[in-house]
């Protein structure tokens, strides 16, 4: 999979791209990671699903989606003509779910890659559990690798002691790339009502607040694996993007900040171009992992 540029948008924050066409030109960015897709349709969690936090937000969407069949039949025909890469984020509760869902995406010409979400903190039955142990992460990666011939990206959870371990485990089982980070498991309480702010009590933390931790993890994983690393976590502007690239990211995903400025991703593309010009750097690839440690 070759990208026009390293700036993509993160799953669950960019719908199917359709939601953003009024605000920006999808053709300006490297790719779109569409909503978390599961084998069966999911209603998601109850309202309230969102709480604002210092420089970030918690969400508890819980993978609401109409299922992979609906995606293939109804959504794919619309989005396949978008002038950018469309990557499907695949979630599940069992290895069989992941495999069955991924299989249905095989052969969709305009879906060059899938992203295995083994890191969703918002569904009880699985998701994150796969991403917190090397063996289960390896197992699901292997199983999907066996059925999906396209580019296989595995999305890692930051809620672990040593993320490099998990990254190495999925690399060993044939992942073509790892993307990180998914959200951090967090919680918010309303002091006055003494109740949780989310219907699910806990939810996933995203936004600039997590950037320093995400950046550290990208840097660690970059040094631990030889497959490309896709970095994300609080990226809001070109400076953030350059920082992730310097830490070792080959490409990026913009998530929560799309909500605040829906054209964030295009502005980052432009900002990186200007940065390269200003610093007389031919290609952004020269910056990957180029952090200078004095």
């Amino acid at each position: 999979m070759k990208l026009r540029n390293p700036v993509m948008t993160a799953s669950g924050t960019f719908g199917y791209g359709t939601e953003y066409t009024d605000f920006m030109d999808l053709g300006r960015i490297g790719g779109i990671f569409v909503k978390g897709t599961t084998l069966e349709p999911r209603q998601g969690n109850d309202y309230p699903r969102m709480a604002e936090t210092p420089s970030g937000m918690l969400n508890a969407v819980g993978l609401q989606n109409k299922g992979v069949d609906y995606f293939v039949e109804q959504i794919y025909p619309v989005i396949k003509d978008y002038n950018t890469h469309m990557i499907v984020n695949v979630s599940g509760s069992t290895v069989e779910d992941y495999v069955a869902c991924s299989e249905k995406l095989v052969g969709l010409e305009k879906i060059p890659a899938i992203e295995l979400n083994i890191s969703c903190p918002n569904v009880k039955e699985g998701g994150m559990a796969f991403g917190t142990s090397c063996s289960s992460a390896a197992q699901v990666t292997r199983a999907v690798r066996d059925v999906f011939p396209g580019t296989l990206i595995v999305k890692l959870t930051p809620n672990v002691t040593d993320i490099t371990e998990i990254a190495r485990a999925v690399e060993a089982e044939g992942a073509d790339s790892v993307s990180l980070v998914n959200t951090f498991l967090g919680m918010a309480i309303d002091a006055e009502s003494r109740r949780p702010k989310l219907s699910t009590v806990t939810g996933g933390l995203s936004g600039p607040c997590i950037k320093p931790i995400a950046l550290r993890m990208v840097w660690q994983v970059y040094h631990a694996v030889s497959i490309p690393v896709i970095g994300m976590g609080g990226i809001c502007n070109w400076q953030d993007a350059i920082e992730f690239i310097l830490a070792g990211a080959t490409a990026l995903q913009v998530g929560t900040c799309n909500f605040i400025d829906p054209s964030t991703s295009v502005k980052i593309v432009e900002g990186i171009e200007e940065y390269l010009l200003r610093h007389q750097i031919d290609s952004v690839t020269e910056l990957i992992g180029a952090l200078e440690i004095p």
Binding site: G12, T13, F14, G15, E19, Y20, D22, F23, K35, Q43, G44, D46, Y47, P48, R49, M50, A51, E52, T53, P54, S55, G56, M57, N59, V61, Q64, G207, T256, N258, F259, I260, D261, P262, S263
Partner: protein, 257 residues
Amino acid sequence: MKQLDFTVRSNEQLNDQTHLLKVAPWGNEQLPEMYPGQFVQILVENAPHTFLRRPISINFIVPEKNEIWLLVEAVGEGTRKICELRSGERLNLLLPLGNSFTIPSLPGNYLLVGGGVGTAPLLFLAKKLHESGYTADFLLGGASEKNILQRSDFKKYGTLYYTTEDGSLGEKGYVTHHPLLQDKKYDFIFTCGPKPMMEAVARYASERAIGCEVSLENLMACGFGACLCCVEKTKRGHICACTEGPVLDINELTWLD
């Protein structure tokens, strides 16, 4: 939908907490087509604790002036900062967002019930109904007289009735206690305000088989259908309050179940 910079033309304080901002596109771009019930997402600047945009209804449109009105009650940092904006200052909006109230296709007895700052989208609706040649009654409720806003504006489009909790204007009590609701038979009700009020209105309408639309104020992250945070549980499952709402027919809601 567009992302546009606006300039604040005026900011008038209507009561302790509520301001009326009149805004127009910064570069004088033509305003997009907008309908009553739709809203904008405001980027709040200089507010350390306000990470996301804030949704605010389109209160009124003055097409001749290319102007939008926003009626904002300061309840937290975000709305307070919006209320502090001065004439000439800039603000960035996404607009227009959401669906809209259904303008009836036939004349009839229409009632608009608003509570507090929930009257915001109803003024624009009142005007549209009036332009469509319909007469409507407006039943506006609030804690006290000073909370019943934009009365002279509403007056242009129909007959006003009031309730206040302290009895300082109109009937004392809640909107659903107003005798009007016993005396007159309405064909359709539109309502916006605090959830308990809308529930009471929905119950009233439902019991009498009167059609009724409510305008939801669910918490929103994006406001344009991307995050799935603002869902309302309806009879056909979760729907996004920001795209399939904020206006919903009460028959879709599960509130009264």
